[in-house]
């Protein structure tokens, strides 16, 4: 890079002003982005009384972790329910992810490598699914789940989460397979491997980053899903977090600090997963749309 040269040239042409504008813009944008998350956290440290003040205490006079203790204390009703929702969310998201990836891997590979009739049509049919809102599928799926006796079970969620998990997984994984040179499999074939062995022994290990990224996507999607869970589940012991935390609203009073502690806890797993693995994550997302 010709850092010094371009920096010098930029200064002469008054680009310094642009750079400052960029910095100020970033600072403002960062404020806009993180302010709600910080307020979520601050409120979660307040007592119910402290939260109901105007103007609000920007930092609680007596910060307390009591809201969090209530959530994770299995001997109280709040804690028992919350831990149950948390467990349900983990269970449903994990199972959805495994199913989606296992089914999507061979399909994505075929879309990337083989030229069978109907390939383009099928692939775009898969892709187009992601344009349709859950609501379009909601009524018939609700009827289907009722007929199958799956309403109020996790089975209904896992099955319906595949409606968005599977197309996305196929699309992301295909992007990864497209980037693995065909020559590697050809070499294996020449050495006597079958087509399936070439796929399983050569391509699969190479696509591990893709599978990780796809799994995270799928997991986060299922973890955050609301509309199906909200419609299909009415029994408390079956609920997942996004639906369950509505319990902190009761008719006459909302427990805002409790609610904020719960949403904070709910956000932690996905934010941590994402921060640790965001390199894969971002690459997987942009791979399909931007190729160089």
């Amino acid at each position: 890079m010709t850092m010094e040269l371009s920096a010098g040239a930029a200064k002469r042409r008054g680009a310094g002003g642009w750079r400052w504008a960029g910095r100020i813009f970033l600072v403002l944008l960062l404020g806009f982005t993180v302010m709600p998350m910080i307020w979520m956290f601050i409120t979660s440290l307040k007592t119910g009384f402290a939260a109901m003040q105007y103007p609000p205490q920007w930092w609680p006079a007596e910060p307390t972790l009591d809201n969090y203790w209530r959530l994770i204390d299995p001997s109280g009703t709040v804690g028992r329910d919350f831990l149950q929702y948390f467990w349900n969310s983990i269970w449903v998201s994990t199972l959805t992810t495994i199913l989606a990836v296992v089914v999507a891997v061979p399909a994505a590979y075929a879309f990337s490598r083989f030229r069978f009739p109907g390939r383009t049509f099928l692939f775009f049919a898969v892709l187009l699914r992601n344009m349709f809102p859950a609501v379009v599928f909601l009524v018939p799926l609700f009827i289907l789940m009722k007929a199958l006796g799956l309403v109020n079970t996790h089975g209904s969620l896992i099955l319906t989460y595949l409606t968005f998990g599977l197309p996305l997984a196929i699309w992301l994984l295909k992007g990864f397979y497209d980037n693995i040179p065909v020559q590697l499999e050809q070499a294996a074939r020449i050495d006597g491997a079958t087509r399936f062995q070439a796929f399983f022994l050569i391509v699969m290990p190479l696509s591990t980053p893709g599978i990780i990224a796809t799994s995270i996507y799928s997991f986060i999607g299922a973890w955050n899903e609301y509309i199906y869970a909200y419609t299909f589940l009415t029994r408390h012991d079956q609920m997942t977090l996004p639906v369950g935390i509505q319990r902190f609203f009761s008719e006459n009073a909302t427990d805002w600090p409790g609610l904020m502690a719960a949403t904070f806890m709910m956000s932690i797993p996905v934010v941590v997963l994402f921060l640790v693995l965001q390199r894969y994550f971002v690459r997987a997302l942009t791979e399909g749309a931007v190729k160089h």
Binding site: S6, A10, R13, G22, L29, L30, F32, T33, P36, M37, T43, A51, Q53, Y54, P55, V103, A104, P106, A107, A110, F114, R115, F116, P117, L122, V126, L127, L128, M131, F132, A134, V135, V136, F137, L138, V139, K146, L162, T163, I170, V182, Q186, R189, R195, W223, N224, Y226, I227, W256, T263, M266, S267, V270, V271, F274, Q278, L285, T286, A289, V290
Partner: protein
């Protein structure tokens, strides 16, 4: 057809020209095994619901969902929808919601992408922070913003009064004039970082040499952006704008949790309206007809999406 070099090795027979379709299908029979599980699942969870929605849209359905009692009523459901003034109100609000959200999410994303394009210390960390709203669940986001907007204890009102703009808390979301826009702010907050990552990836494809050449020729930063960077971004921008528009059009969680479409339907959009028709008022047939219309709108958008994507493919193949 497409000729990936060495593709033939994956086939038992080398691909001759002018093979009948039946023959081609037969030759590829093992390829289909790889796609079959996915297709079977998709047929059940996607194909069947689409078919069923179309069917229901022509029926008068009992609230109990005892579907043996449904009655064929032709296009009545469609007539009911199109002749209702609420339909047009909700459609207008959906357009405002989609267009305004998409515009601001894209512009903020573009600004962030440009500002983050240059290397500097902490850039990766900053990018990760800016991406958090996009990862956090919409349910969590809706509750936090509801709390921020609270008409008695809201932090936003407090901040505005702190800088002397207002003297008492404002009711942002319980007000028919402001509810839709208050929700749009939340939506932009949630979505701009999607535009940001897409455009950051797009910026990496802009050739450095071109930018430097323009600089040597004396182009101002603005001219460089407008004549060099921007044209290179057009492909990504198309895809990003379309995806954002589709996502926004399909929004449910934010309006549903924050206002439930209210007050007085002032923040109702298509999706929340359909949900209310189906699960609130048990009018399954009318809700299905709505879904079919939505389906058609989405197909049109989808056509442009696929075209934007395949254009990228052609450009790539040509390069």
């Amino acid at each position: 057809m497409s000729t990936v070099p060495g593709q033939a090795i994956f086939r038992d027979v080398p691909e001759p020209k002018r093979l009948g379709l039946g023959r081609k299908v037969w030759n590829s029979r093992f390829d289909y095994l790889y796609v079959a599980p996915a297709l079977i699942v998709m047929l059940i969870v996607i194909g069947y619901p689409i078919y069923y929605t179309i069917e229901l849209s022509f029926f008068n359905t009992p609230a109990s969902l005892a579907l043996s009692a449904k009655q064929f009523n032709g296009l009545d459901n469609y007539v009911t929808i199109l002749s209702s003034p609420i339909f047009w109100k909700v459609t207008w609000q959906t357009v405002v919601w989609t267009v305004v959200s998409t515009f601001f999410a894209f512009m903020l994303g573009l600004g962030a992408a440009l500002a983050l394009h240059r290397e500097f210390v902490g850039r990766g960390f900053l990018r990760a922070l800016l991406l958090i709203p996009w990862v956090v669940s919409a349910v969590a986001a809706s509750y936090v913003w509801k709390w921020l907007y609270h008409s008695d204890f809201g932090a936003i009102s407090a901040m505005l009064s702190g800088i002397g703009l207002i003297d008492r808390p404002i009711n942002f979301i319980d007000n028919t004039n402001t509810s839709l826009y208050a929700l749009i702010v939340v939506n932009v907050w949630k979505e701009f970082s999607f535009a940001m990552i897409m455009l950051m990836a797009g910026l990496q494809t802009v050739p450095d040499t071109l930018l430097r050449a323009a600089q040597v020729d004396g182009a101002s930063p603005w001219q460089r952006f407008w004549h060099v960077t921007f044209p290179h971004l057009s492909g990504v921008s198309m895809v990003t704008l379309l995806l954002l528009a589709v996502q926004n059009f399909n929004s449910f969680i934010i309006p549903w949790i924050m206002t439930g479409g209210g007050p007085a339907g002032s923040s109702d959009i298509w999706i929340t309206h359909i949900y209310q028709l189906a699960f609130g008022r048990q009018r399954w047939g009318v809700a299905s007809a709505y879904a079919v219309i939505l389906f058609i709108v989405m197909m049109v958008l989808g056509y442009f999406y696929v075209r934007a994507l395949t254009k990228g493919d052609e450009a790539r193949a040509g390069a």
